[in-house]
Each structure stands twice: as C-alpha cells, then as structure tokens.
C-alpha cells in the first residue's frame, strides 16, 4: 500500500515552480544502492548512448569533458 509522498503538500498551494513537495527520507527509506557497474555494463551503457543519444547530445558533450566518465548513481 503506497504512502503519501510527504506529510505536507505545500506545493499544492504554491505557484513557485521550484517549490516541490519532495519527501524527507529517513534511514532505510531511500532507494536501494546499485552495485558498481562491471566493465561489460559500462560498455553496454556507452553503446546505448552512442545508439540513442539525443541529436544535441554530442554538442553538449563537447562543451565539457567528463573527468570521471564511469560514475554510478
């Protein structure tokens, strides 16, 4: 049974587009972490981007080189 995203709903009455009612997450309430990607998974992700990136992706990509390209969220 899902629970309300948060106790309050201040965004319901605020017109500020950045006044978001984001949940306050306690210990154990966040999403599960992911294991570090394997080399094969990193390659799969890179190929996914090469095959399916948006048209302006490479222009944006050239604007700033990623110092650490294989970072997992």
């Amino acid at each position: 049974m899902p629970h309300p995203a948060s106790k309050s709903d201040s965004s319901a009455i605020s017109s500020d587009p950045f006044d978001l009612d984001l949940p306050e997450i306690g210990p154990g309430e966040g999403p599960l972490d992911h294991p570090e990607p394997t080399f094969d998974e990193q390659i799969a992700h890179a190929q996914f981007l090469l095959a399916a990136a948006p048209p302006d992706f490479y222009e944006l990509r050239r604007a700033l080189m990623n110092p650490e390209p294989f970072r997992l969220d």
């Binding site: 587009p17 978001l20 966040g30 799969a44 890179a46 944006l60 390209p69 294989f70 970072r71 969220d73």
Partner: protein, 185 residues
C-alpha cells in the same frame, strides 16, 4: 547484458506506460545523460504521480519485472530472473508532478520521445538527494549537479537558481558549488 537489452527494456517500459496513458518524467542518471552529461547509470528512473504506482506495477509485471523495494517515496523493480537493468520510480503528489511535468521537455532519447525533467528541476532533485539521505556527495551527485549547470549554461545569478540553492542545498554544498562555478572549466 548488452546495449540492445538496455534499449529494449527502456523502449518497452516507455511505450507500455505511454500506451496506458500514464504521464511520467525521466529523471536520474539517464535524464542527466539526456541533458548532456555522460556518466554511467544502470537503472531507469522515472517520476510518477503517487496514484499511478499500481498501474506501473502492472506495466512492469507485464514486462517481466518484480518489485524489490518500496518505501513511501520510491518503488524499485528488477527483472524476475535477477540481473539486468532496474526501473526505479519516484512517487510524488499530483501538485509536485504537475510542476515537474510543466518544466519538462519532450526529447528524443533511447529511441523514444519522452518527457525529460527540466534541467533546473534536475538540479533541485539532485540537491535534495544530497541533503536528504545518505548519498556520497563526492561520488554520486555532486558532479552531476556541477556539470548540468555548466553544460546547460544555467544562469547562476538568476533569482530562480539562487532560490533553488537556498531551498535544496546544504550550506556546505552551496558553498562548494559556488566556489567551483567561479573557476574556469
């Protein structure tokens, strides 16, 4: 695991949800990718209205996924056989979803036309994540935030950006971010 399977999962999930008439927004690492900052991510993150969770469970069940974790704000799914790419849902109330949707853009990504979170909303979500739960700021979110700002040439002097910093950033993150942004790339 292959790029083909990653594309297939993404496209199947997106098309099934669209066919079911559900609004959803790409957030997380793939949204960061779609906004020009390349870094590895192995799950697909979507923001959805809280009331749509049951529909998404049906959609993902039909694609061979099972729930592996559910809290008041997140639901996570993985292929029944294990491994493969996960689908993570962030659950928000209708008002917040409406704001995220209004700020999103339909973009071509992963072989689909999909709503991608607006870059300022992405920054807000990332800042909130660093503040709210135990994430390694150095390794997980900080460079996403910094790079999104730089690549998308966000006006860091604009009142709305300052408002986002004031609202979502911890004092230490705000100080570090403003310091790094002053440096040349």
């Amino acid at each position: 695991m292959s790029a083909d399977s990653m594309s297939t999962i993404f496209q199947e999930a997106v098309r099934a949800a669209q066919a079911a008439g559900r609004d959803f927004i790409l957030i997380g690492g793939h949204a960061v990718n779609a906004r020009g900052y390349e870094r590895t991510t192995l799950d697909f993150d979507f923001a959805i209205p809280l009331d749509d969770l049951a529909a998404w469970k049906n959609i993902l069940s039909g694609l061979g996924y099972r729930s592996i974790h559910e809290t008041k704000a997140f639901a996570q799914f993985e292929p029944v056989g294990g491994g493969g790419f996960r689908v993570d849902l962030m659950l928000v109330n209708d008002a917040t979803f409406a704001k995220l949707l209004a700020g999103s853009e339909v973009r071509s990504y992963g072989g689909c036309e999909i709503c991608v979170a607006g870059v300022l909303h992405l920054v807000a979500l990332k800042l909130h994540a660093t503040r709210t739960w135990d994430r390694d700021v150095q390794g997980k979110d900080y460079y996403d935030i910094l790079s999104l700002i730089r690549i998308n040439r966000i006006d860091t002097c604009a009142p709305e950006f300052q408002s986002i910093l004031d609202r979502y950033a911890t004092p230490s993150i705000k100080e570090r971010l403003l310091s790094d942004l002053k440096r040349s790339v």
